[in-house]
């Protein structure tokens, strides 16, 4: 019998991404990096593919690279391009 370890990730999205996902949600998954998370979210809601492709991810209030390895209980922010000012 195969046991998959499913990590808990807290996700928070902003601005227009809230039209596609809940503002905050948890993901129980075996995803370990940002690239995989992006793919997972696109599978989940294909309509968000374009905005996700130009959004950046952040952990601990710092932008992360695509190969950043998540740790258990990380809060991941998904940051679309800014439109401040």
């Amino acid at each position: 019998m195969l046991i998959l370890y499913l990590a808990i990730m807290k996700i928070q999205v902003f601005a227009v991404l809230k039209d596609f996902f809940d503002k905050e949600f948890e993901l129980h998954d075996n995803i370990t990096d940002a690239s995989a998370l992006r793919e997972r979210l696109v599978q989940w809601n294909p309509a968000a593919a374009t905005i996700l492709s130009i959004s950046r991810f952040a952990v601990n209030d710092e932008f992360i690279d695509n190969d950043f390895q998540f740790k258990e209980n990380d809060t991941i922010y998904i940051i679309p391009p800014g439109s401040g000012g």
Partner: protein, 166 residues
Amino acid sequence: MTPSILSHQEVVDELAYISASPLDIIAMLGKSHNPRAGAIVLFSGEVRNHSNGKDVIYLEYEAQEKMASKMMEEIIAEAKNKWQLTIAVAVHRVGKVAVCESAVAVITASPHRHEAFTANRYIIDRIKHELPIWKCEYFQDGSKQWGGNCNCHNITGEVGKHVYNA
């Protein structure tokens, strides 16, 4: 309230890069004089009553406030150092902002005008392109629209790489 809490409050006010209450650009300008500063430049980005061919009622700004504050602080420190500014301050509103209210204000000062102008433009350009702050426009016709995200990635080929006019 003890004096130490009061003085902490003052320090926090000085560092308030993101504000939920209206920006008092008059008070900001009033504080921005320095006998070594020959040139003071103030930029105020204000809400227009018209956008995308529609009448605007108000805007609402959302931010990842911790990241936006930290990035603002870094941008200002970099500009202050690069152009040897006498004064460099910037604040961005969050929440509902009415037409003619200021959504963002930047003040720079330097001995001569070239530095104050160049640095002010640099700071506001980086704020508008890079900070995790987003506007949503609410229109008279009841519709809303998340605002003009920057399209620099189409030119630079990389998300998070930007091009500037200045």
